[in-house]
Symmetry: C2
Subunit: 397 residues, 2 copies
C-alpha cells in the first residue's frame, strides 16, 4: 500500500511537475504566438522626451506596444530591415538601436558616436549607415549584428544621408560644403567619390523616389545642390540660386526638412528657408516655376503617395497647423489645426490616411486624406517622428 501510495504520490508530483514544466516551456511560445502577424501595416512612433517608441498598427489604428531605453531621441529617425521585422532607431546621443517590432524588444544597442543625426539602410539590406555630427563622419554597421564595418571621418557634420541604387550611400558635409557618394559593395573598404564646393552649409537632402537625383538644400546661401546619380561625371549643379530674392528672410526657428518632399509627375515642392513659402521646381528644367504663400515657415513638405496632395507643417509660432496643397493648381485646399507642435506626418502606403504627431498635446491624430476628417486619435508621449514599415521597400528611406 504505502509503496503504491508513494508511487501514486510520486506520480502526482511528476504529473504536476510535467504540467508546470510544459506550461513554463510553452509560455514564451504563447507570447510569440499571440504576436504571429504580418508586418506590412506596422509603424514606429518616436516619443522624444522619454526615449521610448510606440509600435503601432495602421489597419486597426492602435498602439501595440511601447519599448523603452533608447536614450536621447530629441532628433531621431528610423529605417526598417527588408523583412520588415526590425527597426533601426538612430538617436541624437549616437545610439543605434535594433528593435524587434514583432516582439517589442530591443535586440541590440550600440553607442556609436557622441551626436548623431540620422541613418540609412543599404539597398541589399545588409548594412546600416549612421551620419554623425560629433565626431563628424559616417559609420557602417552589419545589419544583423551591428558589428562596426567601416568608419568614414569627414571633418564635418554629416547631413542628408540616404541609400541609393547600386549599393551606394550619399551624404552631405555641412561644414565643408561637400557631397560624398560611397560605393559600399565592399563595406569594409567603401569607395568614395567626393564633390566639393557644392554650396554653403548643406543642411539636409533628399533622393528622388527612383534614386536618380540627390538634392541638398543650402543654409549658408540661397539655392540647392543637385547631383544626377546616373551621371556622376556631370558633377553637382546649382539650382534656384536666387529664390525669394528681395523678400525678407526671417529668423529660422526650425530647420526645414527635405526628406519625403513633395515630388509629383512634373514638379518638386520644397520648403524655402526663412520664408513663408513653398517653392515649386520644374523637374525637367530645374527652374522655379512658382512660389506658394503658406501659413508659416514650412518644415516638412510631403506628397501623398499618389502625388495629388502635398501636406505641409510649420515652424514656431505656427506649428499648430497643417496645410494641404492640391498639386494640379497649387492652391491650398485645406488648413487643419491638429494641435500644439505638429512635428511630423506619415502617409499610409496607399495614401488613404495620414498620421500626424502633435507633441505638446501628447497625441497622434489620423486623418482621412480624402475627407480631411480626423478618424482616430491615439495617446503618445511627446511624439515626434512617425515611420511606417513600407519604407523598407523604398529607395532612400
Amino acid at each position: 500500500m504505502s509503496t503504491n501510495l508513494l508511487f501514486t504520490s510520486d506520480l502526482k508530483q511528476f504529473l504536476l511537475n510535467t504540467v508546470i514544466f510544459l506550461s513554463l516551456s510553452f509560455f514564451p511560445l504563447f507570447n510569440q504566438a499571440t504576436e504571429l502577424r504580418g508586418t506590412g501595416d506596422l509603424g514606429v512612433v518616436v516619443e522624444r522626451a522619454t526615449g521610448s517608441i510606440l509600435i503601432v498598427d495602421t489597419t486597426t489604428r492602435t498602439r501595440l506596444s511601447k519599448v523603452e531605453g533608447f536614450g536621447d531621441l530629441s532628433h531621431a529617425s528610423v529605417v526598417f530591415s527588408r523583412d520588415q521585422r526590425y527597426a533601426y532607431v538612430f538617436g541624437r546621443d549616437g545610439g543605434l538601436t535594433k528593435v524587434d517590432i514583432l516582439l517589442g524588444t530591443i535586440v541590440n544597442r550600440v553607442i556609436q558616436a557622441g551626436n548623431s543625426i540620422g541613418g540609412a539602410i543599404s539597398q541589399d539590406g545588409q548594412l546600416i549607415a549612421v551620419s554623425n555630427y560629433t565626431p563628424g563622419g559616417v559609420k557602417l554597421f552589419a545589419a544583423d549584428s551591428l558589428e562596426l564595418l567601416a568608419d568614414l571621418p569627414t571633418n564635418s557634420k554629416v547631413v542628408g544621408l540616404v541609400d541609393a541604387p547600386g549599393q551606394r550611400l550619399v551624404f552631405s558635409l555641412f561644414d565643408t560644403g561637400e557631397i560624398w557618394v560611397a560605393d559600399v559593395h565592399n563595406p569594409r573598404q567603401p569607395e568614395i567619390k567626393k564633390f566639393t564646393n557644392v554650396g554653403k552649409q548643406p543642411y539636409d537632402a533628399l533622393i528622388f523616389p527612383n534614386g536618380r537625383y540627390y538634392l541638398a538644400g543650402l543654409f549658408g546661401e540661397k539655392g540647392f545642390a543637385l547631383l544626377n546619380l546616373w551621371q556622376l561625371e556631370a558633377g553637382v549643379k546649382r539650382i534656384l540660386p536666387d529664390y525669394g530674392k528681395g523678400e525678407e528672410t526671417l529668423p529660422v526657428y526650425k530647420m526645414p526638412h527635405l526628406e519625403g518632399c513633395g515630388i509629383t509627375d512634373d514638379h518638386l515642392l520644397v520648403p524655402a528657408v526663412g520664408q513663408h513659402t513653398v517653392l515649386v521646381i520644374d523637374r525637367h528644367t530645374w527652374q522655379q516655376v512658382k512660389s506658394i504663400p503658406v501659413h508659416g515657415q514650412p518644415v516638412f513638405v510631403m506628397a501623398r503617395p499618389d502625388g495629388r496632395q502635398v501636406w505641409v507643417n510649420f515652424a514656431l509660432p505656427d506649428n499648430d497647423t497643417v496645410q494641404v496643397i492640391d498639386t494640379t493648381d497649387f492652391s491650398i485646399i485645406k488648413t487643419l489645426t491638429p494641435g500644439k507642435a505638429v512635428l511630423h506626418l506619415e502617409f499610409t502606403p496607399r495614401g488613404e490616411a495620414v498620421w500626424v504627431s502633435v507633441r505638446d498635446e501628447d497625441r497622434l491624430v489620423v486623418y482621412n486624406t480624402e475627407t480631411f476628417e480626423s478618424i482616430a486619435t491615439l495617446p503618445a508621449d511627446k511624439p515626434s517622428g512617425i515611420f511606417f514599415t513600407a519604407r523598407a521597400h523604398k529607395i532612400g528611406q
Copy 2:
C-alpha cells in the same frame, strides 16, 4: 491493491493523455512559433500545372512552403492584404483563394465564376475585386470573410482590373470596348461611371504608379486608350493610333501584358502587339518617340524599381530569352537566356535582384540586376507568375 493499482494505472493513463493532449494542443503553436517572422520579404510563386503555390523568401532566396488546392492556375494573379500576411489568389477557374502566407495554409476559398482573369484589392484593403470572363463582370468580396458584397455584370469579358486612389476600381470591357470606373466607398452599391467607344477589344491595362493615368492596350485595332483619373470629365483619349504602320503584323502567340510596364521619369515603354518591338511613349506629349527592335514579340516590359533598366520577355518561339534595355539611351545592354518558357519576372522591392520563372525547366532563376549574374536557382513545378509582398503597398497592384 487492485484499487490502487487501478488508480495508479488511471493516473498513468491520465498522465499519458495529458502529455498527448498538451503536445497536440501546442503542436500548432510550435509550427506558428517557428514561423514568427516579418512578411516584407515574402513572395508567392504560381505553379500553374499543379494548381499549387510556393511561398518564397527573397532575403535567403529559398522556398518556405508549398500550398496545394488552388484548382486551375493556368492564368493566375495574386494581390496581398495590407498587413502582408494574406495572399489572394485569382485562378482561371473562377476560384478566389485566401492564403495565410505565414502558416502556408488556405484560409478560405470560393468559386465565384466560371472563368476568371484577375483581381485587385481596394485602396483601404477591405475589398477584393475579381474580373471575370464567364459570366462577364466584376464581383466584390469582403477581404476578411470573402463574403460577396456586390456583383457588377458587364455583358463582356473584363480585363485590366486595377485599384485606384479614392477607393476606386477601374477595368476594361474586351467585347464592348468600354472602360468603367467604380467608386466602391459603399461596396454594396458601387457608383459606376462608364466610358464607351474607347477602342476595339481592350486586352489589358495598367495604372501608373501614382494612380493618375489608366492606359488600356487595344487588340482589335492599333493604339491605346488613355484615361486621366484626376480629370474624368475629359474622357478617354486615344494615343498611338498608327504605331507600326506599314510594318507586318505577325500572328500573336501570346497576348502581351501591360501590368508592371516600363514607366520611367519621362517615358513609358510598352509591348507592341504582333511586332518585335517595344514602343517608347513620351509621358508628357503621349506621342511615340521611338520603337526599339527586340528579340521577339514582347510579353512583359517591366521597369526595375529605379527605372534605369527595363526587362522584357517574349512570346513563342522566343520565350527562352530576356532582354534588358537601358532607359537612358534605349539600347539593349544585355540578352539573357534563362531557359525554356520564361513566363514572368518580378523585381525585389529596391531592385537589386529580379526573379524569373522558367516554366519548362521547372525552376526560378534569380539575377543580380547590376552584374546580370545568376545568383540563385530554385526548383518550382511549372512556375508562372511571381508576386512579392511589397505589392501590398503599391497603388494598382
